[in-house]
């Protein structure tokens, strides 16, 4: 008994953060009175050269996103968390509305959201969580509720997470020509199951699947498709092409299947490698796959951690997608949205984590994505987390 007690005392403990996070709210437990505050500034920039993505549309976007996440352990079995986020958006999709004076007051460039979460430890091995949130954009509102159940094996070698989240959204369809239709609903229900497992003495990973169902108005309101026709359109199309425009039409339901996994192995003290991947399929005809190897190295006894990663992503096009102008006006589903098209991308990224003290950590991260449809983009973040 003495030996077991001694072994328990000196054995390295696996921190709860060694398991991959599934939720965008904290869900780890700690001692009563402890918690953390995280502040982050994200940036994203996608220029659009003529002809990239949808050749008829300027798809350039720049986003700056400050976010604050607060977490507090009221007791060692009950915790609360909150997330506040704001986006400042500069997008060609918004600028386009300036062609139409009647919409000048309706176009906007912001997104704001808030989520709160509660979590309870129900036993030594189990916990439950509940969350709710609200977000609003100039043409979009969303109400979110969700919950999760977590169960850990007694030997701490495996952990199950089940979650379900519902989004009840309202879209104000501001069309490409400035007209506004009556508000439409968009409802989403997503359920995820994931399993974390210690595979051997140096390897651990997680595997999971998501099933999501969406219904209602699923189109992007300002998107249009171009029908080949003589005469210049008003206002002119992005590449000076001729043609007439009509609204994008997509199905009013969508079922998504996702399977994902990532496995990390310690190569030697202070150096690890990871392989992650994701497979996606939906009933719009899109199949997608990504694979993401990472190399992680620590310096100065873990004070600095550098992660280098590469991600290859490929997706097939939706059944009703067409890049070129339509020869005749489509009467059914039709889109030229580049997000629903056929493309692949190579993403290179790096993250530097700087543990300035036991309670504080800076994170600097940048990624550059090279896409086969030339919609290359750059994104990253600067974050600071303080634990108390």
């Amino acid at each position: 008994m003495l030996l077991i007690t001694l072994a328990l005392a000196v054995a390295p403990q696996v921190s709860s953060s060694s398991t991959p996070r599934t939720f965008t709210l904290p869900n780890d437990f700690g001692e009563a009175g402890t918690g953390s505050i995280e502040v982050q500034l994200g940036f994203y920039d996608r220029p659009d050269a003529q002809g990239a993505g949808n050749p008829f549309l300027d798809e350039s976007v720049t986003v700056i996103e400050p976010i604050v996440v607060f977490d507090y352990n009221y007791s060692d079995t009950f915790g609360v968390s909150a997330l506040l986020v704001y986006d400042n958006v500069s997008a060609a999709s918004i600028d386009r509305l300036s062609y139409y004076p009647e919409q000048s007051g309706a176009s906007g460039d912001w997104y704001i959201g808030a989520d709160v979460g509660l979590r309870w430890k129900t036993s030594d091995q189990g916990s439950i969580g509940a969350r709710a949130g609200f977000s609003a954009e100039y043409d979009y509102q969303s109400i979110h509720v969700g919950g999760d159940y977590n169960w850990e094996r007694a030997d701490r070698n495996g952990k199950l997470a089940l979650s379900i989240d519902a989004f009840i959204d309202t879209v104000e369809p501001i069309r490409f020509d400035g007209t506004t239709d009556a508000d439409e609903d968009r409802n989403s229900l997503a359920t995820t199951v994931s399993w974390y497992q210690i595979l051997n003495e140096r390897t651990h990973g997680t595997f999971g699947a998501t099933l999501a169902s969406q219904s209602g108005f699923l189109a992007t309101p300002y998107n249009f498709v171009v029908v080949d026709a003589p005469g210049p359109p008003d206002p002119p199309l992005f590449n000076g092409a001729n043609g007439t425009r009509q609204e994008e039409v997509v199905p009013d339901s969508r079922l998504r299947y996702v399977a994902f996994g990532r496995v990390r192995r310690l190569l030697r003290p202070g150096m690890s490698a990871e392989l992650g991947g994701r497979f996606y399929s939906d009933d719009w005809g899109i199949t997608a796959f990504d694979i993401e190897p990472r190399w992680i190295n620590s310096f100065k006894d873990g004070k600095h951690i550098l992660e280098l990663r590469y991600r290859y992503y490929t997706q097939g096009e939706a059944d009703f997608y067409q890049r070129e102008a339509f020869a005749v006006a489509p009467t059914g589903d039709a889109t030229q949205d580049s997000d629903l098209g056929d493309f692949n991308s190579h993403n290179l990224g790096a993250t530097w984590r700087w543990q300035t003290s036991a309670a504080s950590r800076w994170t600097f991260s940048v990624d550059y994505s090279l896409r086969s449809d030339d919609l290359d983009n750059l994104y990253g973040l600067v974050g600071y987390q303080w634990s108390f």
Binding site: A91, S142, W195, I198, A212, P269, S281, A288, T363
Partner: protein, 79 residues
Amino acid sequence: MIEIRPRGSLRSLATLLTLPLLAASCQSVEFYEKGAFADPTMEFAETPAQLHWLQKVQYSDEGAAGGIGTSAGGGCGCY
């Protein structure tokens, strides 16, 4: 590009879904053998804020939503 048809998709999905079961049958690791997992490079260190940002970037850029965070496409007009 290789086109994945629905039947192949379901088979791939089924294979990936069985991985957790395979993993569960892996070598049992005792508590005193878990030193490697205390190494700072073995921490899956993404914070909720980082996950939120990654989810928004990828979901608004690509046709495939899901597997990061919990939304799988809901809750955002995403530009």
